[in-house]
């Protein structure tokens, strides 16, 4: 793929309910912030890619109504929706549009307003023949896979709780983050309500209202617009068998994420990810998943993820800080969550992370995840490939 870079980012304040704005207004907040960050006027955007899980708000083709908020009127506009990976998939779509030679600057806006719908109902609208009768939604789905993963790998509730505490501590440094729980303790997590064994309330991500936007530019435009462009070194998507029972030991293997990471590292010339990556923004909807992703992303060998969190390797001052933003565990507007991962990774390369900046970050990882079926892996770098 031709060289392209992320040259601007913007996001809203994320909250349980953003009753102060409509969906187009929410989108406008993020879009305007990203344009301001990139130093562009709306007329200088060539195309817009939107990301949203429309059934979570009970809508169809939401870009028709919301597009105006994203400055998309009179412009080419696409909407991408692939579950939890919608946001990263939209970013990857924008990378390809900007690399196609047809568009110079592409705006991506991901958004979700969970408070205006019923997310678990939306999630239960699965295959009517095989899946819908189970209708377990996210938590039940996770609980099955996590039980198997934790059992085989010897992961403890305490180790998972450490992930929850790390995420919420990091979120306290991020003014955009939804959950602000700086004083959360492992004991608090272990005392929180059991949702579906072994998943407790504070192991799970919240449902947030919010939007996030990035501006992607072709090489020539990126060099003119941004002092420190976040160059796209790799952008890989892998989709998996969709049915829960069709992939044995799904969370243990995470074949799609593992293969996407392998291909992305190859494209980016990365051989030892834990050493060569400076920061990672990974899509961890539940604490146990972050530990499983450590293995799938090659941060450690199988069975070592629990040790990694105990030793503080992925803390802000560790060898490889994971989710300085607080991650999905602290902020989760689903259609935006993948865009947030890419925006936060880009922010690190831009050197604009503020209190959550990883000093000297030059190579950043962002991932997207959807229902065990989809995985996106993006590598951004301070240097073009």
């Amino acid at each position: 793929m031709r060289r392209v870079a992320v040259v601007g980012t913007g996001q809203t304040r994320h909250a349980k309910a953003r009753d102060d704005v409509s969906q187009p207004e929410l989108v406008r907040e993020a879009a305007a912030a990203a344009l301001e960050d990139a130093g562009l006027r709306p007329g200088e955007i060539d195309a817009v890619v939107l990301s949203n899980m429309e059934l979570f708000e009970g809508r169809a083709l939401p870009e028709l109504w919301v597009g105006e908020g994203a400055f998309a009127i009179g412009k080419p506009c696409l909407k991408v929706a692939t579950g939890g990976t919608s946001g990263t998939s939209a970013c990857i779509a924008a990378f390809h549009l900007a690399a196609s030679g047809i568009f110079e600057t592409v705006l991506v806006v991901g958004f979700e307003k969970h408070s205006e719908g019923h997310t678990q109902t939306g999630m239960a609208l699965t295959d009517p023949f095989w899946d819908r009768a189970v209708a377990s939604g996210a938590v039940g789905n996770f609980a099955l896979s996590i039980s198997q993963y934790a059992s085989e790998r010897g992961i403890t509730e305490h180790q998972a709780a450490l992930v929850a505490v790390k995420a919420r501590r990091n979120a306290a440094r991020n003014p955009h983050a939804h959950l602000q729980m700086p004083d959360l303790t492992v004991e608090d997590v272990l005392a929180s309500r059991m949702l579906a064994h072994p998943v407790r309330l504070l192991d799970m991500c919240p449902q947030s209202d919010g939007a996030c936007a990035i501006v992607v530019a072709s090489e020539e435009r990126a060099r003119r617009l941004c002092p420190h462009p976040a160059w796209v070194r790799a952008a890989v998507t892998r989709h998996e068998q969709p049915y829960l029972g069709d992939v044995e030991r799904r969370l243990l293997t995470m074949r799609a994420l593992r293969d996407a990471a392998r291909a992305a590292y190859e494209d980016a010339g990365i051989r030892e990810p834990r050493k060569e990556l400076d920061v990672a923004e990974i899509y961890e909807p539940v604490t146990y998943a972050e530990l499983a992703w450590y293995e799938a992303l090659g941060f450690c060998a199988a069975g070592e993820a629990g040790g990694l969190i105990e030793e503080g390797v992925t803390e802000m001052d560790g060898e490889l800080p994971v989710n300085p933003s607080g991650g999905v565990l602290s902020t989760n507007p689903v259609g935006a969550s993948g865009v947030i991962r890419v925006a936060e990774a880009a922010l690190q390369i831009h050197g604009l992370g503020g209190a959550r900046q990883v000093e000297g970050a030059r190579t950043a990882l962002a991932t997207g995840y959807g229902v065990y079926a989809w995985s996106d892996v993006v590598v951004l770098g301070a240097e073009a490939a």
């Binding site: 031709r2 899980m53 059934l55 080419p76 506009c77 690399a99 196609s100 047809i102 609208l125 998996e240």
Partner: protein, 353 residues
């Protein structure tokens, strides 16, 4: 590097396909791959188009992951018209990331009352509470397009009768005379039931490949250059635009010509995505087509309009028309979505690689 259309496949359109969505899509995909002389292994990436609410499924791409051969492959789902998926597929190739891309789109109108569902795509604050849907918006547009012209309804009836005649054999639209069209019941004034293209079930699929200029595609048989394309989103509210003009299509067409680079040859065949005769008039005006262009030689969407897949089905039809001409000429395919043509896409197909 050119992008070529090298494989075409379709399932339907039929009034009510008893098969599941994956079965219908598989039918189209196998047809496209066979036409291209390729198998699943040759496909680098897949782009699909579907709309969750129309399918009654969250993340509706999940249902077809296996039948499009996307397991452990890059797949992107465009939640919109199928022609958009094709345009994005062409961008994937132009970016240099992939050489062979499979594009699919599907719809199953028989699952639910389609027009009622479309009300959920309208602004929930100002439009949806009025009880309007895409059909009502189309009627408003027809009224605006007719203006003071007393002949408009008769002209539309004549166009609908021609399209229904040309679509014969498909089994979806019943042939009838212009008089029959004018006698058919009003569904949303001034639109009458026989003026509307019949909704149907089906799927379309194409294979796109990177081809060096002047080269013969790998299948050795045929290939059509995906010469230029553009798309656009107009303001949402019908009150915010001139309903008597598809200005969004004018912008998309200008972008398509710009992307084409060289002057666009005369258009031999046009396959517009028009559900109603007044839309065809708006299409002709936006592209400034003259009588030298054959429009919808097989009846266009009157052969069966498959929601979401409609735009991709027009690309398949345009490609087939050029093949039937012995691989000569230039064609355009068109897609539109949203109320009164809010979204517009157009692509230029050329026989010369």
């Amino acid at each position: 590097m050119n992008v070529a259309v090298v494989g075409l496949g379709e399932a339907g359109p039929t009034v009510e396909d008893p098969r599941s969505i994956p079965e219908i899509v598989l039918d189209a995909v196998e047809g496209a791959l066979a036409d291209a002389g390729l198998d699943f292994g040759a496909v680098d990436a897949v782009v699909t188009a579907s709309v969750d609410l129309f399918d009654g499924l969250t993340a509706s791409g999940i249902a077809i992951t296996e039948v499009i051969g996307a397991v452990m492959k890059p797949e992107t789902r465009i939640a919109g018209d199928g022609l958009l998926a094709a345009l994005y597929g062409a961008c994937l190739i132009r970016s240099g990331a992939y050489e062979t891309v499979l594009v699919t789109a599907h719809g199953k109108a028989s699952l639910a009352p389609h027009w009622e569902l479309t009300s959920w795509a309208l602004d929930p604050i100002y439009l949806q509470p009025l009880g309007v849907d895409f059909l009502v918006c189309a009627a408003l547009q027809a009224r605006a397009t007719a203006g003071d012209d007393p002949r408009a309804e008769v002209r539309w009836a004549e166009t609908a009768a021609v399209r229904r005649r040309d679509a014969r054999g498909g089994g979806v639209a019943a042939p009838c005379t212009a008089g029959d069209v004018l006698d058919s019941p009003v569904v949303a004034s001034p639109l009458r039931s026989e003026m509307c293209a019949p909704l149907a079930d089906g799927a379309s699929a194409i294979v796109l490949r990177a081809v060096e200029p002047g080269a013969t595609p790998a299948n050795g048989g045929w290939g059509l250059r995906f010469g230029g394309f553009g798309f656009d989103l107009s303001p949402h509210s019908p009150g915010d635009r001139d309903l008597a003009d598809w200005t969004g299509l004018r912008r998309a067409w200008a972008r398509a010509r710009l992307a084409h680079g060289e002057p666009v040859p005369a258009i031999d065949v046009a396959e517009p995505s028009c559900l109603f005769p007044h839309e065809e008039e708006l299409f002709r005006r936006a592209l400034d087509l003259d009588d030298g262009t054959v429009v919808s030689p097989q009846g266009g969407l009157f052969a069966g309009a498959v929601p979401v897949a409609a735009g991709l089905s027009r690309l398949v039809a345009a490609a087939r028309a050029l093949r039937h001409r012995g691989g000569q000429g230039t064609a355009v395919a068109h897609g539109t979505w949203g109320p009164a043509g809010q979204g517009q896409a157009v692509a230029i197909l050329e026989a010369t690689l």
